[in-house]
Structures are given as C-alpha cells and as structure tokens.
Symmetry: C2
Subunit: 263 residues, 2 copies
C-alpha cells in the first residue's frame, strides 16, 4: 500500500460512519491540503456507494481540521439507475469541518463523443521548473509527497516577475510510485499555489467552496494541471483547474471560490 493510499484510508464503522486518520504528511503551512481531505472523504463515499467512481464533489470548507483521528459521516440522498448521491461530512470531535455533496457513478471508459483540446500548449516536463524546497520549519510537508514542475512564466512571481494574470500550470505526480486514480485527482485539483500569486497577490488564500468533476479515469504518468482565474473582486477570487492525463484526455474539471489573502 502506498503512503497516499494509507493516508486516505477510510475504515467502515457502520453504514453511515467511517473512521479516518488525517495524516501530517499533507500539510501546507498549517492546515491540511483541501484536496487531500476531499480524497479521504471520497474513499468513504465510494465504499458506501453501489457505484465505483466519485463523478461530482462539491465541498464547503467550514474549518481547518487538525491532523489525527476524524470521521466521515454519510447521509445517502438518492440511489438511481446511473448515479447515487450522498451528503458527506468530515467530522472531528463532534464538529463538522467540511460539508460535501457527492455523486457517484461508474465510468465505463468509452471514448469521448466530443472533446475540447488542452487550454494552452505546455512545454515538456524537462523544460519545466520545480519551486525551491520550502524553508525548514515552514511546515509544508505536502511538498515532499509530490512532484510539481511548473510552466516557467507561471512561477515568475516567485522571483519577482509575475505574469500579471491569475494563472498556474504544472505537471504533477506523487513522489512515490503510484498511478493517478480518482483520489489522486481529488488532491490534484487543489495542489497548485493560488493562481492569484501570478497576478501579484500574496498570502494564505482559504478555499471556501470547491466543486470538481471526474470525467475519465486517468492513464498512468504525469498529470498536467492547467489553472487560471477569471476575476479578483471584493476579496474573492475563482480558480479553475483542468487536469489532463498523459494519454491526452481531460480527466477532471474544478472550480474553487476562495478568499484573497491579506499577506
């Protein structure tokens, strides 16, 4: 079992309750990565569903849970012929930390009836750049768990040359040998630095709502993350992330609404 599979395990207690243990390896500064937390919740949601894949997840991030034991509570809402819907709550010490509405279904892998192309051309991974290792004591344990290689202009902000637009593009894979699957995708849609960094903003940018759709099962290899924002206004910004797999398929689509950092 890989570290990621172990860190996202959900152990069935009863038909609506799963025990989980939030792993200190997926921390970003102080809080746990929101995508990692969604992956944990989706393990429980899929285990309890008659269907195999989490095709749609809408999550409201109420509070940042601590590492350690927590529970996933399920409330089945509908089981239909092609999909099932459930309310999924991450609970710690009796309080809700993330509320989600999850639709499960079984993707059969038939070829696309119609597909757009990737949003922009990416340089090959060998021409892309990692960000420097985080400073000791910065509590960015997630960085060691994944490889991110950025399209160079979109990390220009790191050296004082932001593009002036909210955007971030990178190749992504786990550091350990693990093929991408729907749970890795749940994390992938939330691992880019906030897209507003390249528009000149700074600081911790808490996600308020994130919805993502699983559109196909990813092929082995690098995932490509295309991130952009459309509007920064009134202290809020949007971040859209498309995930494409190594076989050239759109596999996940996400949008989050987040608060601008004050840093």
């Amino acid at each position: 079992m890989t570290k990621f599979d172990e860190a996202t395990q959900a152990v069935r207690v009863d038909v609506t309750t799963y025990d989980v243990c939030l792993d200190p390896g997926y921390v970003v500064g102080g809080p746990l990565n929101g995508g990692y937390l969604m992956a944990v919740m989706l393990r429980a949601a899929v285990d309890a569903s008659p269907y195999e894949h989490p095709v749609s997840t809408s999550a409201q991030f109420l509070r940042a849970p601590a590492t350690g034991p927590a529970q996933v509570r399920l409330e089945p809402l509908k089981t239909g012929r092609t999909a099932a819907m459930a309310r999924v709550t991450l609970v710690q010490d009796g309080a809700a930390y993330i509320e989600a509405l999850v639709t499960t279904a079984t993707l059969t892998g038939e070829p696309p009836g119609w597909t757009a192309g990737p949003p922009v051309a990416m340089p090959p991974p060998e021409e892309c750049l990692p960000l420097p290792e985080p400073k000791p004591g910065s509590n960015m344990t997630l960085n060691a768990r994944m490889d991110l290689r950025f399209d160079p202009p979109t990390v220009g902000w790191f050296t004082g040359t932001p593009t002036g637009r909210p955007e971030s593009r990178a190749y992504f894979r786990l550091s350990e040998p693990q093929d991408p699957d729907p749970y890795v995708l749940a994390m992938a849609v939330d691992v880019l630095p906030p897209v507003v960094f390249s528009a000149g903003y700074r600081g911790w940018a808490p996600t308020v709502e994130l919805t993502w759709h699983l559109r196909a099962l990813p092929a082995p290899g690098w995932l490509t993350l295309f991130g952009q924002g459309r509007l920064v206004r009134d202290g809020w910004f949007d971040e859209e992330v498309e995930v494409w797999d190594a076989a050239g398929n759109l596999v996940a689509q996400a949008r989050q609404l987040a608060r601008l950092g004050r840093g």
Copy 2:
C-alpha cells in the same frame, strides 16, 4: 411586485423552514427550470442569513418537484466574519428534491482587482435571434417569461446546421420589466438550451449537479450568457456559463454536470 419576485417568494415559518409555491410559469417541457428552483431556495437562504448575497451555490438535483406548495429547509453550518454557510433543501411532501450548499456574504461593489475579458465577442442584440415560439401543448411556459436572443451560429442546430461544438451564447432578460439581481442570475445560469445541442446531440439533458458563484451585483439591462462545454463522454457532459452584465462586468460563473439525453 414582479411575477418573478412573487414566484420566488419564500415565507418564513420558523428559523429553519420557509414555505414556497412552485410556479407553473417556469416549466420547461415537464419539469420546472432548475435555475428558477435555485432562486426560490436562495430567497430563503439569504433571508435567514446575516449577509445579503448568495455568493456560492452548489446544488444536487435529486428529483423533479411538481408545481405547487413546497418547503425550503435550512441547516446553518457556520456563521463567520465574512461569510455564512448553510445546507439548503427543497422539500415536497416530506421528500428532498434538491440539496444545496450555500455560502452567503455581502458584496461591497468595489471595482475588480483583476478581470479577464468576455470569452468571445458577441454581435449586438439586434443581430441576434430568438428561437421560435414553442409548439402549443409543449408545456414550455418559461419561454413566455424571458427574452433570449442568440448569437446566430449557436442556434444553427435548430435549422440543421450545428456548429459541431458544445456552445450557446445569448442575451437574456426577463420579459417583464425587472432589473437583474442575484435571483435572476440564479435562473440565468440554467436557461440556455443544453450546449450539446450545437454538437449534434438532442433530448432532455437532466442536470445532476450545478455550482454557481455570484461575483458582482449586475447592472440594469441585458445580461449576456456565454455557454460552452469541454467534454462529452460516458453519457455525461459539462456546461459552463459565464454571465456578464450590461456594464461589461463578469457577474456570475456556473458549471453543471449533466446527463446526455437519449432523444
């Protein structure tokens, strides 16, 4: 009071319950328009919130409710310094029909810190086309309540010349004199014909999940709806709708995941 305001009224019964009456004027074929139903739910959610605007709404469409009396049930999840979150359920005869997670906040109207431009250029409204009146007996009562004027190529499907891509673009306003507001926007994000029609698909395309974000309060006048899809696969498609106001501001962003029709 306009017809729309009356049709979306939510009357407080107690702190978590509102009575509503689902209006037969917003029917599309057989079911009520999903955007109209979200507007009804958001009236209750905002009334019960300390904040003024529904900035984020994620809705799972479980079943199609009938016209007539229904209730909106609220479960407050968090009230913070800048936003409040609640679970919002549309209930009829004791059963849940739509489950939503709603974030409310108060938009102050400060100018954008950064904004993208409209996705594509639209011809002026006078060069855009309405679709023909629905056939008698087709039970499309919503059509009489709104004006939609389409960018001509995106309704080429109606006369047998689809563009071959999932797309739909139109100017939108209510037929009655009413300035757009967040509730009109809730409907606006779900009033276009399914974007897959212009890619050659047909038939009733039920929305499974729709998330939309209110980004600014709209100026009076036409709204412009830019709709597109990125992938049709495995019986599922996505539909993104951006709403721009007459003053040239991005005011709402939506994505829905829907099932392909079998028609």
